[in-house]
Amino acid sequence: MEFVKQYWAPLVCGLVIVAVLPLIVGYVVLVERKIMADMQARLGPMRVGPHGLLQPIADAVKLLIKEDIIPEDADKLVFWLAPVLSVAAALLAIAGLAIGPAFQIAKDVNIGILFVVGVSAMGIFGIVLGGWASNSHYSLIGALRSSAQLVSYETAAGMALVCGLLFAGTLNIASIVEAQRTQGIWFGLLAPVAFFTYLVASIAETNRAPFDLPEAESELVAGYMTEFSGFRWSLYFLAEYTNMIVVASVATTLFLGGWLRPFSETHWLNFIDFLPPLLMICIGVYCLIRTPKQPARVQQLFMLAVAGLCFAVALVLAAPVLVPIIKPSLAAAVKPYYEGILGGFWFVFKVSAYIYFFMWLRFTLPRYRFDQLMRLGWHFLIPLSIINVLLIGIAMIAGQYFHLAGWSLLLTTIPASIIALIVALFILATEQKSEPQKASGAAPDSYA
């Protein structure tokens, strides 16, 4: 039994994640297309299933049966290895994440968040090797851009993480969330500048718009993925979206309170626990209302099934809250499930909100030029994050001196963050003043 617990349970969890994650990624892509359509006043995919709900499966089948092309002069072994490396790094990073207090594959890892960050950064090898092995100029330039971008923004992201870790005092992911529970405040509020820095750096690290220079279609066809097709291409796609989930989870854990609900220690706000089941019930009712408007019988049945699923999820979410009220004798038995179920909901909710923000930016902002990207990284984000770490440290010492904790710590950290922002903007302004000829007009693209 002990052996099973130690080796097989994590193994089964890992297999489940590897099996389910492509499906999740497929639906994230569908949601992205739907959001894009919504923002551009279109309908998006509507053909496969009601409201295009089966589109990801159709896409997956298409990608799997597509012809697999390897360029004539490509380095075959490296070409084969590169997408696998990208996916392996992204999936391995998931192992360190904690979706709830109970759902974590690598439990109680002392280096928790470093593991997630370090391993997911290894995915860049897949991009560089893939770009090199395809023996194509577009691919190579895309790969080099990608590595330059990652190296530049990793520093800012790391410094932002240091800020959050200063408050947590530990690297263990479960303990970081526990620290936010005991302090009663999310670290994202205590260090807003660090959260902002991580947000920008994580967009750059996942190569998402407006920083998707490595795959800029207008210049580089598709960047490092130009020569990849079919299944290999879909592996890169899987890695990109898995990386998005990973950075969103890291930000959620460190800055947004992980699986804690908002105001988790304020008891008169306990009614927040009823919001998740209510939300699911609302979605289910909406599906029921839409059912008669579906054109075909199959689609009506499918819509009903979706509504039923929503009600089932609502029931599961409501159970840990309702059972102690109806039958107080069962309260102790239900308590362990409360954190697992509702915590899981809040974690997924926060991660989804973070990813929604990514998509929102993608459809709002135009793409950066490469020298603008480098200037933003090196001249603004890196000084900002370093000064911020310094000032947040001073603010924490000042807070200890005045015996501030929790919400009152905001009194010292908020001025520190504002000063850091002002100093970084000042540095940016003086640098732009000293090089006026470079700042205006199209600068020579010396980086790519």
Binding site: V109, N110, I111, A121, V128, W132, A143, S147
Partner: protein, 172 residues
């Protein structure tokens, strides 16, 4: 038992890929095998319950090879490199030195347990629950016991970094 199997697996991967790193003609392939060797070493660190060392190995060393890749891709002409002579002609000297080294290591292994105070020290495994938390232990020794050497080393690295930037800027 399982521990030993895993250790020998990692060790074999590390040694074989280290050999391949030297013998491959294509520089990029060499770099890939260097990554494999470093990752296998990281695995051995993890087995020794040195988690912090494991992740530092991955972030710093494996991440550092990233830069190596970029240099190789940008600076090395692969077609020329493949045709060039790969090893310096020091076969006999090298053979002699490696034989001497092998004899030394063999002597150390052989003398273990036969002569007291000689050879590989045989230590009992530390009980897992008594070990201090890994990153905390590293932090304590760096920032309490060895604070001054640590700071001196940091300043030295900073000076080196600034120096490199200054020298690189002078050219243009």
């Amino acid at each position: 038992m399982l521990d030993q199997v895993i250790f020998y697996l990692f060790a074999a991967v590390a040694v074989i890929s280290a050999i391949l790193t030297v013998t491959r003609r294509n520089v990029v392939h060499s770099a890939i095998f260097l990554i494999t060797a470093l990752l296998a070493t990281a695995g051995i660190f993890l087995q020794l319950r040195a988690e912090f060392l494991f992740i530092v190995q991955i972030i710093l060393y494996v991440g550092g090879i990233m830069v190596l890749f970029v240099f190789v891709i940008m600076l090395v002409n692969l077609d020329v490199a493949v045709r060039q002579l790969q090893f310096a002609r020091q076969k006999w000297v090298a053979l002699l030195i490696s034989l001497a080294l092998a004899a030394q290591v063999g002597l150390m292994l052989w003398s273990t347990g036969k002569m007291p105070g000689q050879g590989v020290p045989v230590l009992a495994a530390a009980p897992v629950d008594k070990l201090p938390l890994n990153s905390e232990a590293v932090a304590k020794s760096l920032f309490e016991t060895y604070l001054l050497p640590f700071e001196i080393a940091s300043v030295l690295l900073l000076v080196a970094m600034i120096g490199a930037v200054v020298m690189a800027k002078k050219r243009t």
